[in-house]
Symmetry: C2
Subunit: 456 residues, 2 copies
Amino acid sequence: MVPASLKRELRDIVGKERCLDAPEDLMVYSHDVFAEKKPDLVVLPVTTEEVSRVLKLANREKVPVTPRGSATGLTGMCVPDRSGIVMAMSKKNRILEINPEDRLAVVEPGVITQDLQLAAEAAGVFYPPDPASQSICQIGGNVATNAGGPRCVKYGVTRDYLLGLEAVLPSGEVIKTGGRPIKNVTGYDVTRLLCGSEGTLAVITKIIVKLIAKPEARRTLLVAFRSIDDASTTVSRIMAAGIVPRALELMDQHYIRTCERVYNLGLPTDAAAMLIIEVDGFAETVDRQARIAKEFCETQGAFDIKLAQTEEEADKLWLARKIGSVALYRLSKTMVAEDATVPISKIPAMVRRLNEIEKKYNITIYLLAHAGDGNMHPLITYDPGNKEEAARVENAIKEIFEASIALGGTLTGEHGIGLAKKPFMHLEISPAEMELWKNIKKVFDPNGIMNPGKFV
Amino acid sequence: MVPASLKRELRDIVGKERCLDAPEDLMVYSHDVFAEKKPDLVVLPVTTEEVSRVLKLANREKVPVTPRGSATGLTGMCVPDRSGIVMAMSKKNRILEINPEDRLAVVEPGVITQDLQLAAEAAGVFYPPDPASQSICQIGGNVATNAGGPRCVKYGVTRDYLLGLEAVLPSGEVIKTGGRPIKNVTGYDVTRLLCGSEGTLAVITKIIVKLIAKPEARRTLLVAFRSIDDASTTVSRIMAAGIVPRALELMDQHYIRTCERVYNLGLPTDAAAMLIIEVDGFAETVDRQARIAKEFCETQGAFDIKLAQTEEEADKLWLARKIGSVALYRLSKTMVAEDATVPISKIPAMVRRLNEIEKKYNITIYLLAHAGDGNMHPLITYDPGNKEEAARVENAIKEIFEASIALGGTLTGEHGIGLAKKPFMHLEISPAEMELWKNIKKVFDPNGIMNPGKFV
């Protein structure tokens, strides 16, 4: 699909070492966590000019280009569904500026999110968005997918930290959006149009993010409940009381028991559900916030409440939440991690619907949730070789999406559409809205070369 | 420009009382604070269906439609530059839902911003964006212009509070964007594309905004400095130290003296500049935040520091900031209020450039600033009948914009482009970006009927 003459031209632009077509290289760049499809060629640009020249040629030849970060996505977003060129941004990875006085950082898309976070914290400032993959994912991918994470309940998602972007259109034209000021209302908000566009509009080549004041202190609680209803009601109550924890995570019994079986962390396996509640802010407020949260838990019948006394203990309380899904991957042939998201007050109802769906289809749903913002993560393990089981799982997933939409929710709180949710878009999006999106895409990408085969 | 037959059809849709063409009515709906142009007809829809039917007919006849809130804008955004129909949203003004548990409100565009704020606070939650016109402006206009305000330094602008919109395209098609969940990454972010689009893409008919926890307490300081450089340096220092006040406002000597002359508030007229510093949060933190801010002021040579002991005293400290520009309007033939915005560290440099420009063009610049986010408000009074003076002011304004851009800033932090800044767009926006915007507009509005003659 990539003509030999084009390959030669692309190799001339980025050099042989950053233009790959050996089968083993194509394999490496063919998948994310959800899907797999081999590209014909992988290019790894280092400069914006290289990105521009590559796109210009691909556009001339109408060859698909799929931008790629670390491929930690769960929906196939960066998988080259129509083959063509994968443009991997991992080598365009410089932190250009950390500026505590202007409260901003300027980075290239290949910077690892955690490296940005650590560089900011070393300078006394804070970059909050914390996708679970933060130690390996790239900030460019975070922008393209509008990544979330546990801390987003208090601090907002990637979108909320964008001040400006540099991006390259398929035509090769380099555009700048937004800029360095914190406040800026000059013209259409193309910054946020690119954020979450999943590589279907342009290639992001530079990112200006807002940094905020680093919270002085945190307090972390791990709380066990006898019923999941009690746990989810506690979540609604805490949020309604105006305590906004920096994380409010829910784990159900299936998840807790699996985690305990694999890792022996000493979790209470008789708990029907557990919450991690983490508050932060000025030193003198965190104890009060933690106390109020604890009181809500007790009122709702919590039977085991651990409050971390040190940073190390806090990290330990997080362990189950952070490594449990790895246990599930290890124990199963495959796993889907959904992220249907509902309004906060609908969490108990959604939990009940998930229970019903679990029984109806005779499957096991392991439930994780960024419960503080209604972002559910039902995890389902199964054997894709078992057609009958796979069909049950497929129907269950469809019903999960329908339940979320019926409760005023959305298909995806943070994982994005990719290939996984494409078949369900009509549940949430009207034909008129889809038509609008298609026409917006045509403005940026008239030849349809950017990540084709995806949601738009 | 609006054919008699179309007038009749429109009158049939909204009724005679909400379809106005008497000269005195057209006069009322012809201006904002900056510009004036009479429409041919004013319609005041009450339902989304009426909006849809009116737009459909206007689109068929290719008659301009300019949506309008309370017209408190400072750049001519809602002035019907090409006449046609003004669609005033003031009667579509119901608060449909205040939901503290889901932390959201659903409102129609004609709701007065302050009414939304008061309704939220009565329910124990908080809607932060606070444009100066909050007691009269409409939330629909806030969305269409991405309105800011003093509290935005801590809490962000209107854009940051949008969960979803209902809007009507010129075709009459009703679209929904986003939704009720706090987290939502389904598809392109059309919500934020409409936010700040200044009525050039669609008519906003319903708005879902995020509400947050209401801060428990605030502390307000009014501080006088002997040099404006000391005041602006204090701003940078406070922000860099991680104290993020909920407001950090700067007033210069011209402004203070005028205010004192008109209102006799007891302000120190020997101050070269004053800051209002307001911190908020949990009760036990506000005293510490206020103390740290005070220390920074003292270090920088502040000679008069007032700390409000009661809510009433706090409101009194705000008085100069809130009514000073009214004094300027009263004393002058006309006034322009610019809002060139720079990165925080560039505030002292921008203040110096404003002083140079003031001297060079022999004018008086009254300086207000939401200094905490670099959002400068240089105010210039003059007599538009004096051609020579008007020319000097025009050149000064151009040089203010050039200075802002040269310092890495933007033309407009919160007032928008409208007619006022249209001639200066090329300073900030490249031809490629403008071309992109034009094509985005065409997707929504192929016949170019939405607020024509503006920035795109």
